[in-house]
Symmetry: C2
Subunit: 302 residues, 2 copies
């Protein structure tokens, strides 16, 4: 059974086909967030702190941490951010950078067993990132593109994933520690984007026997009512084999989708997490009259 | 390519793997609705009329019509209900009864090509219902239980479905006209209920090459926040091959699930239905400022 084991100093998270879907919070990332980028560059981590706490409270099992700021000292800022976040919350982290020196700086200060985001199928990336994964005995996100770019042919993307898994094994890294991102295209640009990913996820699970992740919201780029579409993409992909996603846990619909997928995939034992979250509170003063959450739900239903 | 073609006097609906998910409205059914049962028995069809119009307005592509009222003249009431509903809305109907005389009375007055709900794998049911399907050249829901009851083993349920398809062929009925209900168990009673149905749906599609349907809300029996769970069950099942469901289209979450599944399965061409329903209205007085729906969505998000 495939198991990717990540940890912080005090907490372990397992990604696997028999495990609850692993929600990886995406918010600590200055890409496209000018204010956050300026703050982090100036050494102000107040938004990072708030995002860390809010995402874990909303249901993130892990947090992705990215410090990609143009013309900034990314290795130093990434390491500082990781130390800060690990001091605030106990979930394992995904160390996210395209710069090898930043990954190394982050790994040097990290407490526990992180996920490194990411390696691609490009030879240069493989030869620079995989030795780090081996050295620090951690896990890595494998993005299924290579020197030729992102193929629209899912069979090509599968072969790139296979190549990364095999190259990792050459470096002494188990397939348990390679989490493949099949690459999600916007459904508005390519009507087959959903079915392609569902088919790829099934092959990744059945043939390559690896865990998987994706940037969830890519699917709905340019489309209205994105959260509902993201949520159903999550549950449909989970039915096809997706075991984690990098996503915004502050959006309730997407968390609903992950929790429903757990119930329906039979990995929320006795539906316990679902029932605890959604059951009607009982008012001890007034008997079993439902209140609060039920009313909120009624308002949300049209 | 498997295609189940249903029609009213003026409208055709196709159920198929390359078609939008077929939402069959379940509301016109006195089972568990005492007031409706009393009304229908007394010849008062005002609730039936309201339910027919509301369900089609909410997105039902077909309506199920059931007149199962204890100690009532079900054949007469079912026929009257069908005539009334066909006079009000133009969607094809599913004629729903466990009594052969009621099915025959409904078929005799129906205009177009209906779905008959249902036949089981029991020999008596097969030998009484299938000749009617052949006589009226229509389609039938095949429920995968037999004399031994409902098996918890999905392989047994698949073999019952295969038996019904083969017996239908013996009667000159094409597999295109057999819509299999794999039988959905409550997930609260059986944690594997979801995965069982997903696996069965895949076999029904790939091996038996038949369309499928189910009573959607069975999955969430006894569980809180049912609409969200139903909605994700719908989209996950649609990813596995489900092509229709008997469900309540007045619940917005379930319709969202069906529409999202269409987008993500690539059967909502250019995402047109999704975009028309969810795009931000443009106020000609005020430029492109979003209003209305967007505000409603913001309130629904927690």
């Amino acid at each position: 059974m495939t198991r990717t084991i990540l940890s912080s100093a005090t907490k372990e998270v397992v990604i696997g086909f028999d495990q609850p879907f692993c929600v990886i919070g995406e918010r600590i990332n200055p890409t496209g967030r000018k204010k956050l980028a300026a703050e982090m560059k100036a050494g102000d981590y107040s938004t990072v702190e708030a995002d860390a706490i809010a995402q874990v409270a909303a249901g993130a099992a892990m947090l992705d941490v990215n410090a990609g700021i143009p013309l900034a000292d990314e290795p130093r800022i990434l390491a500082e951010t990781i130390e800060l976040v690990q001091g605030l919350v106990n979930v394992p982290l995904s160390i996210d950078s395209s710069i090898i020196e930043a990954l190394e700086a982050g790994l040097a200060v990290y407490k526990g067993r992180p996920l490194v985001n990411s390696v691609t199928g490009e030879d240069e990336s493989l030869e620079r990132v995989l030795p780090l994964i081996k050295k620090y005995d951690c896990a890595v996100v494998a993005i299924s593109n290579d020197e030729t770019g992102i193929s629209e042919d899912p069979d090509v993307r599968f072969e790139v994933a296979r190549k990364i898994v095999e190259r990792a094994q050459d470096h002494g890294i188990s397939r348990n520690d390679v989490v493949v991102d099949p690459l999600v295209m916007p459904i508005g640009a390519m009507a087959t984007a959903g079915r392609q990913v569902f088919a790829l996820l099934k092959r990744l699970r059945e043939e390559l026997k690896v865990n998987s992740t994706c940037g969830l919201s890519n699917i709905s780029f340019g489309i209205p009512n994105r959260h509902v579409l993201n949520a159903h993409f999550l549950s449909m992909a989970a039915a096809s084999g997706l075991t984690s996603a990098i996503m915004n846990p502050l959006h309730a619909q997407e968390i609903d989708g992950a929790m429903a997928a757990n119930v329906l995939n039979g990995v929320d034992g006795d539906c316990a997490s679902w029932i605890v979250k959604y059951r009607e509170p009982v008012d001890p003063e007034a008997g079993a009259r439902p209140r609060g959450r039920e009313n909120r739900r009624r308002r949300r239903a049209v």
